[in-house]
């Protein structure tokens, strides 16, 4: 997998890297990474729990949108004085990239109240989709982080999802 240092270099002056790991996108590997995040981050309970949740939703999202069964994902967590950044990098097909960008554009365009309404509506009245999910992962990430989700792509067919979580 191509590690996207170019994207991360933007943050190198102001952020400290507190976690970095890559894995094949499989449920068991996600479990390992979550256990690792839980045990290795020395931060307060509430922030760690939100990072854990965002990491899980991001990694589960990569499972849904990965371009083949042996795809890899890289997870990076950065820290500065006022926030954390949780970043995933993985390859993705052109169609899935279009779907993801379209979905996240919708999520980012909504106010927090509109987002809460959409989240509630899907949970109360939505149907489980053919991938076995309810499709509110991005809504939850934005609600938990209270920030827009940054999505970009690079020349190597990677999609980079960057979530900023402000410190409490």
């Amino acid at each position: 997998m191509v590690i996207n240092n170019q994207y991360l270099s933007v943050f190198s002056d102001r952020y400290t890297q507190i976690y970095r790991e890559s894995c094949i996108i499989k449920h068991e590997e996600i479990t390992n990474i979550l256990n690792d995040v839980k045990s290795s981050l020395d931060i307060d309970f509430v922030t760690k729990k939100r990072i854990y949740s965002i990491v899980n939703e991001l990694l589960e999202n990569t499972m849904l949108h990965s371009d083949h069964s042996e795809s890899e994902v890289e997870l990076v967590i950065l820290k500065t004085d006022d926030c954390y950044r949780i970043i995933t990098i993985n390859t993705i097909s052109v169609d899935e990239r279009h779907n993801l960008l379209s979905y996240s554009t919708n999520i980012n365009s909504l106010s927090i109240q509109e987002l809460k309404n959409q989240y509630k509506e899907k949970l109360l009245n939505g149907e489980i989709n053919d991938k076995g999910t309810i499709g509110v992962g991005m809504e939850l990430i934005r609600l938990q982080s209270n920030n827009k989700i940054l999505i970009s792509t690079d020349d190597n067919s990677n999609v980079i999802i960057d979530v900023r979580l402000d410190k409490l």
Binding site: F45, V46, Y52, S53, E60, I128, G132, L140, Q144
Partner: protein, 131 residues
């Protein structure tokens, strides 16, 4: 009615639905690899249970315990569905149902999820912090 008991795994919670004792228990973490195959038997059991006790004239005193550490977004959908079903059971004239939602006292997100369940489904839930 046959008891439904599911042992916990690294990514799915403990479930124990016991019609004989009237105690329904959900504990642990929920982010199963295949959410439909994990949750659908639970939903089916609760529907069958509701349909069974709806027909009899006995009184049923039920206790539901949620003690959850973490659940992902898709599990949230199923937990909402479970709460809606519990509300429909509690609405039966011969049922008295008490639901307890335990949360770590510092875990405001789990506490808030309990409050959302109350708001969204109308199920009466007692929120209980613990250290």
């Amino acid at each position: 009615m046959q008891r439904l008991k599911i042992d916990p795994t690294a990514s799915s919670f403990f479930v124990d639905l016991n019609a004989d004792t009237g105690i329904f228990n959900f504990q642990g973490e929920s982010r199963p690899e295949n959410a439909p195959s994990f949750f659908e038997p639970i939903i089916a059991w609760l529907i069958t249970y509701r349909n069974t006790i709806e027909k009899d004239k006995d009184s049923h005193h039920l206790k539901v315990i949620f003690k959850l550490d973490y659940f992902n977004s898709t599990s949230t959908k199923y937990i909402v569905d479970i709460a809606k079903l519990l509300k429909s059971i509690d609405d039966l004239p011969n049922v008295n149902l008490a639901t307890e939602w335990f949360y770590k006292s510092i875990d405001e997100d789990i506490r808030d999820s309990g409050n959302e369940l109350i708001d969204w489904t109308g199920l009466k839930i007692k929120l209980i912090p613990y250290d």
